[in-house]
């Protein structure tokens, strides 16, 4: 399956910004060639996974309010299937880190991430999560949560508009659709 086959309803493939990154990722993943049978099954599984990404209820500061607005009536992330926000990390698929992470909160975030069930993702929302934001010179703020947990998608903004968050989630959907689910499982064994 080539990158140009990823289908996100409503937005054409050319309008996304990170297509080169996805092409490189695909080349790495397909380095050893792809099996036809597992390829088709992979497509089905990835379709299911990408359309049913359940976020954890996690919000530390201002970006949390924009996250709640995305769940509200005007910009509705239930259309994508995301509205089942679980409060237990074992049942969630993605942590949208909305807000600043400080030194005291970093171990909690790591613990939450460890408690999640595979396959799991992290979206860093807002400039505080990406680089410390306006507080980057502070003694207590973690600059870049990539030091604590591995991040999949970065959404810039302070706070990002709800449409930006939806775009970021669609990027995560595209990334999920490319993953080699069964092949990774086979290689692990």
């Amino acid at each position: 399956m080539e990158v140009k086959n990823i289908y996100i309803k409503g937005i054409k493939h050319e309008e996304f910004n990170d297509n080169e990154y996805l092409e490189n990722m695909v080349q790495e993943l397909r380095a050893g060639g792809v099996d036809i049978m597992t390829g088709a099954l992979d497509d089905l599984i990835n379709w299911g996974r990408s359309n049913s990404v359940w976020p954890l209820t996690f919000a530390t500061s201002c970006c949390g309010i924009e996250f709640m607005s995305v769940g509200a009536a005007r910009h509705d992330f239930a259309r994508f299937g995301f509205e089942v926000t679980r409060s237990s990390p074992r049942q969630a698929d993605v942590i949208i880190v909305a807000g600043t992470i400080v030194h005291k909160m970093a171990p909690i975030l790591k613990r939450l991430y460890d408690q999640m069930a595979e396959p799991k993702y992290i979206i860093a929302m807002g400039s505080c999560a990406i680089s410390g934001g306006p507080f980057c010179n502070s003694y207590h703020v973690v600059n870049d949560i990539n030091e604590v947990v591995p991040v999949d998608v970065y959404i810039p903004g302070c706070p990002p508009r709800p449409e930006a968050l939806l775009y970021g989630m669609m990027q995560l959907q595209r990334k999920i659709k490319l993953e080699n689910f069964l092949r990774k499982a086979k290689e692990k064994k």
């Binding site: 599984i45 299911g48 996974r49 049913s52 239930a78 259309r79 509205e83 237990s88 074992r90 049942q91």
Partner: protein
């Protein structure tokens, strides 16, 4: 009206004529089991989708609409994801009970699912003490929840399980009594006979006042049994972070999730069968033409239509009202519903004795 007994007889004769009896029976059992399991899964997925859409419409938003036309296959995507999620092996838990709990919950709902009369001739288990069987089997669900909370070795789960246990055991009484009221009226506990007795009018109309009160009490108590609606304290997301199933992941959590929706379906199904006539169309005694027209609509559509109405009522209540606190919940049952039920039973007995019904 189309009678499914025709289809089942045909399968039965076909099998018996071509192979020895025990083999025919074995194949029939397997077939019935597969059909029930498939129906279970399909109905649960459909209910999940319906809830999300209706909840969205109540809340002035759209709900799932990107996965397939109008979002119809959203539940299938959820199911695929749930199946491939990792089941996390936790260390400090009681492993056997932890593993067993979701199965008990699903088992309880499957057993009661099998005894529901879906349409004319489509009735898997038809005991002569059908109502007693339903009550007995739906009580097994409490066990699963208590085990889940206990074996998780987690304080929140314990609190959730204890609350749920108290709640479910209390509301068993109300359910039992309201169904008992209707058994007094119908004179039998067998579900298929109850449905057939409603051929002229449904019980909720012929039993007038006490039947209506029993219906309302049954709906309230039934939703309390299934931890839904204003009674969802055990899994109150905004208080206890998912309550008794906090530690479950993957398909084990999927079982709890499915069983919740299916329990709601079963409560509605029993309400429909006992109060609203089951698969019996709406007949008015004396209006033959009207009854003929009503008979054209297949019985299975009648059944699911009525269930749809009752489920809609349940969803409506769930998404409007705030949650009851546990002591208020128990007080509602023991101080209000139970005395009301007993008085209602008395009234129904009097009505049956003196014949003051339609």
């Amino acid at each position: 009206m189309f009678d499914f007994a025709v289809v089942t007889q045909w399968i039965d004769e076909g099998l018996r004529s071509s192979m020895p009896e025990f083999a025919a029976l074995a194949i029939e059992f397997v077939l019935a089991g597969v059909v029930i399991l498939t129906a279970y899964a399909v109905i649960a997925l459909a209910l999940i989708y319906v809830e999300r859409k209706i909840c969205a419409f109540f809340q002035c938003r759209i709900g799932p609409n990107r996965v397939g036309k109008y979002g119809i296959i959203q539940s299938i995507a959820d199911m695929v994801k749930m199946l491939i999620k990792e089941i996390i092996p936790i260390n400090h838990i009681d492993k056997f009970l932890f593993f067993l709990a979701p199965f008990i919950v699903v088992l309880a709902s499957l057993l009661s699912f099998g005894a529901i009369p879906f349409a004319k001739g489509l009735h898997a288990i038809d005991f002569n003490v059908g109502i007693l069987y339903m009550l007995a089997v739906s009580s097994l669900g409490v066990l699963g929840i208590l085990l889940a909370g206990w074996s998780s070795n987690n304080k929140f789960s314990m609190i959730g399980a204890m609350r749920s246990g108290a709640q479910m055991i209390s509301y068993e009484l109300s359910i039992g009594m309201s169904l008992l009221t209707m058994v007094v009226f119908a004179g039998t506990m067998q579900l298929s006979t109850i449905v057939e007795k409603q051929a002229d009018t449904w019980f909720i109309f012929s039993g007038h006042i006490p039947a209506f009160i029993a219906f309302v009490i049954y709906l309230i108590a039934g939703h309390a049994e299934t931890n839904r609606g204003p009674f969802d304290l055990p899994e109150a997301e905004s208080e206890l972070t998912a309550g008794y199933h906090t530690e479950y992941s993957g398909i084990q959590f999927g079982f709890f999730y499915l069983a919740e929706y299916l329990n709601m379906f079963i409560v509605s199904a029993i309400a429909t069968t006992v109060f609203l006539g089951g698969w019996m169309p709406f007949h008015i005694p004396g209006w033959e033409g009207f009854n003929e027209v009503m008979d054209y609509i297949p019985s299975i559509l009648w059944f699911f239509g009525k269930i749809g109405v009752v489920v809609f009522l349940g969803l409506w209540v769930r998404w409007t009202f705030p949650r009851l606190r546990i002591d208020q919940l128990l007080r509602l049952e023991w101080k209000y519903l139970l005395p009301l039920n007993m008085i209602n039973l008395l009234i129904m007995v009097l009505i049956v004795l003196f014949g003051w019904h339609f």
